[in-house]
Assembly symmetry: D2
Homo-oligomer: 254 residues x 4
Amino acid sequence: MSDPTTGNIRVTVWNEGRHEKTDPQVAAVYPGGIHGALANHLRAQPGFAVRTATLDEPQHGLTDDVLNNTDVLTWWGHLAHGDVSDAVVDKVQLRVLNGMGLIVLHSGHHSKIFRRLMGTSCSLQWREIGEKERLWVTAPGHPIVEGLGEYFEIPHAEMYGEFFDIPQPDVQVFISWYQGGNVFRSGCCFHRGRGNIFYFEPGHETLPIFYQPEVLRVIVNAVRWAAPVAVANFRNVQDTPHTARPLEPVAIEG
Amino acid sequence: MSDPTTGNIRVTVWNEGRHEKTDPQVAAVYPGGIHGALANHLRAQPGFAVRTATLDEPQHGLTDDVLNNTDVLTWWGHLAHGDVSDAVVDKVQLRVLNGMGLIVLHSGHHSKIFRRLMGTSCSLQWREIGEKERLWVTAPGHPIVEGLGEYFEIPHAEMYGEFFDIPQPDVQVFISWYQGGNVFRSGCCFHRGRGNIFYFEPGHETLPIFYQPEVLRVIVNAVRWAAPVAVANFRNVQDTPHTARPLEPVAIEG
Amino acid sequence: MSDPTTGNIRVTVWNEGRHEKTDPQVAAVYPGGIHGALANHLRAQPGFAVRTATLDEPQHGLTDDVLNNTDVLTWWGHLAHGDVSDAVVDKVQLRVLNGMGLIVLHSGHHSKIFRRLMGTSCSLQWREIGEKERLWVTAPGHPIVEGLGEYFEIPHAEMYGEFFDIPQPDVQVFISWYQGGNVFRSGCCFHRGRGNIFYFEPGHETLPIFYQPEVLRVIVNAVRWAAPVAVANFRNVQDTPHTARPLEPVAIEG
Amino acid sequence: MSDPTTGNIRVTVWNEGRHEKTDPQVAAVYPGGIHGALANHLRAQPGFAVRTATLDEPQHGLTDDVLNNTDVLTWWGHLAHGDVSDAVVDKVQLRVLNGMGLIVLHSGHHSKIFRRLMGTSCSLQWREIGEKERLWVTAPGHPIVEGLGEYFEIPHAEMYGEFFDIPQPDVQVFISWYQGGNVFRSGCCFHRGRGNIFYFEPGHETLPIFYQPEVLRVIVNAVRWAAPVAVANFRNVQDTPHTARPLEPVAIEG
């Protein structure tokens, strides 16, 4: 699915956007906000129509109109997961179940929307010493790794380690090695309802990870993978049709 | 895991228990309540210690003490999913993520706890004309089908049909055929956190399905399968350990 | 991946092609062979470059040159699975593991190549009385169901029933209902190595199933889904690189 | 399933057994052979009846009588995979598909039987410098990790690294970290037919890994997990029953 007129994939880049206002270090690395850096890169791709939305806008920038015209939503949150309103989470969940793609980045693992869609705590171990991370490809035929090689490295990363409390992914795309001795399922595909979800671990508010070409390549690939397909005449998945009349003749006996 | 003294699997049979009070038809089929019928059968098994709990008890009968001493919880709800308190759902979810088994029966598909753990709407199609159902085994090596053959039939069933909005099961154990033309993923295993979840479609409040030997056999098998294993020194899965010190020496460069 | 010059997906439609020569009934329904009917339809799609190959050609029409220039292979076999040479099966398997898509149709479930790639017997129950089949969509967000509704029907089909001895599919796309009382996992996605495999149950040599629009729609969608992605610098998956030098400095102790 | 008289799980420990005869280093570490070391430990467990079999016995020690009376087979091979006869591989495959458990150890990843059952090349990267390995638990509720903590370490191991060309496991139980910078899916459960398969990476012919308590604990747990269940009246999965008569009345129209 995409813009019915242009065929573009309509991407909304969502950002909590709090760090950028309060922490000069974050503002120095991401002067236009993390959403700005991501949106700039996505706008440079053919076939994408990109907008941004942030926590402190009315309805967090995710009005019905925005959600209904979004094919893929990317999500960055970190400090203020609790400030996202449950009403917005309800609406985003329904949109995902009915086909909108969702890309959850780094600390978004603990966002309300990701925990809601996973049904688990999504907790993990973490450490912030700027160690090296190496992401190994474990699904080399998957569209999300198009253009990559066997692995790529992030020179300075925050460590996110197992046990990561998620359902086993429908496809395990990346597994990370960390210098300090941990591993992590760092690229995970999930299908929920009619929607595609990708959790991608790389990213940080004061490390320039969202400028690294391999990371950006994966995010672009993921947006294309997550974009919904058009299924004709498919009801909303949350409906519970009472179909009193069977599709076949039924003679009840006994 | 099990009672540390006796080695018994401690089962709590939970029932909404409203029908039985208000609908004489239900009371006629299940005079001791659906929980009574199930508990009676489970009590007759070796190695099970069985109690019951119902919606209208304080805390729905699911106090901390009960939950902490429950290895496997079975869940029947139908009319009053909304009356289950969110605080109890929160606690049951955490207990499942930390190892308690959960068996969700029939209309429990729309319970708060099942929807919470799945992350999806868990909606489906339905029809109530008493048609025939045939459950085909699609995982013939799974402990839940021990003692069964290739399929079994329920002579008069409520139809639950696809699309069933659940994550793809970790193991698909049964798929049902319905006389009226529908199919359904009627036996589904899920692993979430350290807990095992089984959704089992058969059951009805006015049909004697919970007296049928094959159905009871599956529920008994499922309780044994869902009982938790003892993992030494494993943190609560919802914790987020900050492990400042790496497991390996790390010299940060660059 | 696709033709590097044109960007077309290069499809090879493989057919055993024996029925068509010996059975006038088959020739009447598929005068150009089953491969002819499928190739005609695929050729009418934008972005496809289509050729055919059959069992009785040298190397079954699957020379190195053909295989190396095939992005997606579709497979129909029925009477003569045993006549396919093991050497060709070896080569097709390696091509799939290194990225070539494979669409296995109906009685191809018992082909050497499908059994090889699954590792199981791929056996099933069957019945040939021309009963009705209804395919329910169980993955409504999957590209293979694009354009379909909740289900579609085949008025007269051969029955293929559970238990179907396959690994649990990576995605379960369709489940079939049969008038005679059986169910079947009739649309199954598998990822193996870098290759995508789709098993699709509909089809028959004397029933006009390969002219039915929904069936053709699924096959076209499946070809697009199965086409390989380009992964840079990825070794052949069957290689076993001995990497004597670690990626990180290792001081062995103890 | 188990010995019908005693209820014991009947384990056959299979070993190629060539190293032990030709390489004094191997004989020094495993004087009774790798099979001897494993069998000794398994014999010390309650409820196990253990025998051994080796490549150089007639039929590799895997006669029909042995296979028909084996509930779980463990497999170590390394130098001489090609010397295992295809006829024996055929028989072992059928026994697994009909319920016999299979535990494949370390270099058994390239055995004929494992490659046969997976359908892929099962290739991987490797390095032999005696570096440290740390196995992280990614399925903390699984019976195979009973008694373990969050991870365990092998002080000196051969490195096996991604990409590992296997189907995505039905359950991912362990992921390994290596000092030299690699990761590996080191504990993998697969269901095939009615059989349970566990691939477990630790092990080496000159390192004392098969004496390490955590490794032995996992193998014992895996044997219990892999033991077959008794399914009543279930046909051999490789049969293809032609059931001419439908289970339901069918009136063909049109």
